[in-house]
Symmetry: C2
Subunit: 205 residues, 2 copies
């Protein structure tokens, strides 16, 4: 019962085209150097060597370009966390790493890639498709770990899986949603540990 995201691929023009990639590359460069707002579509056009109008043959809007970059960014974070998770077999340790990994990666986005954060913030506020998809994937990842833990006997099996997953997601959310994380700087050191602890206690059989 899962409908396609509101804007799965509203892309214009040929999906697979050299110029499209050039635009994305230029946008990544410009957005992360000068920021999303400060970069104009004309800047990107100049960088690619075409006219502004041509950009719009490939992207519906500036936001659509931002959405690409943002999606890449989120995929990167996700990949990093998944790598950390894959290093261990214990479901409980996976949960801990998931928590810590997302917090650190999001934090890095906020500090190291300050400019890109700007996009992520807009994306989260306006609930761009890329963000909705990201959140869904994170929830799916969480559910996988939970199921694995249930099968291995590490986690309790009484509470409905969906409820457990939803609750744990709510616990984690403030630490990988950039908007929320912003208001939790004082806690980012201790929170992942303390909260994984609490969550794992709640999962004990």
């Amino acid at each position: 019962m899962k409908k396609a995201a509101p804007t799965p691929q509203p892309a214009r023009g040929p999906i697979d085209h050299e110029v499209r990639d050039q635009i994305v590359t230029a946008a990544t460069e410009h957005f992360s150097r000068y920021g999303y707002e400060k970069t104009t579509v004309s800047d990107l056009a100049k960088a690619v060597g075409f006219s502004k109008a041509y950009i719009y043959k490939f992207f519906e809007s500036k936001q659509a370009i931002g959405e690409m970059i943002c999606a890449n960014c989120l995929r990167e974070i996700e990949a990093e966390v998944m790598a950390a998770i894959a290093e261990t077999d214990q479901p409980s340790e996976k949960l801990r790493r998931m928590f810590k990994g997302f917090t650190e990666a999001t934090l890095r986005l906020l500090f190291r890639d300050r400019k890109l954060y700007e996009i992520a913030a807009s994306a989260a506020t306006e609930r761009w498709a890329a963000v909705v998809a990201y959140e869904e994937r994170v929830q799916a990842l969480l559910k996988e770990i939970l199921q694995e833990g249930r099968q291995s006997g590490d986690f309790e099996r009484k509470t409905p899986l969906d409820e457990t997953a939803a609750a744990i997601y709510l616990v984690m959310r403030p630490y990988f949603n950039p908007l929320l994380l912003q208001h939790s700087f004082d806690y980012t050191d201790a929170a992942p540990g303390q909260l994984s602890g609490l969550v794992l206690r709640s999962l004990s059989p």
Copy 2:
């Protein structure tokens, strides 16, 4: 080992003075009707019938007045939640009510008293003394409930109390910090229930 809050009573002039109360009354009225930013100190002076300069005999700044109002507001929320908690004896039910009560009260502040929310937001962002004190009181309340539950045998006793309290506080925080709550509207219905459930599972002996 608890130091006094950074600004316990930086109040100017006589603490107990009719005019001070009049100012607070007028400020409550104006702030909740027109908003904190839109209300000028001169407006308050006019409402009270004195000159603007006289206001400053009682308050160090406009923010100090806002802090008063904000503190009242928070005390009200707190009182309401404490009343709901006092209705039951079961520590687990107390926790549930605490969670639900704070969420609903904060939500009401956000919607019904939209104008006052403006102050609460500034207060939370800039960590005014009133907010710091409020957070400390909430944590203390939480600890009380936990200790009660431990003594009655309802809650586990292995995990250090301070750690349990800190973790649960982190779970609750997004729902009674106005800044965070703002980004969680989609979850305010389900979250208190689901999260109390998770927390209580983590507390089971």
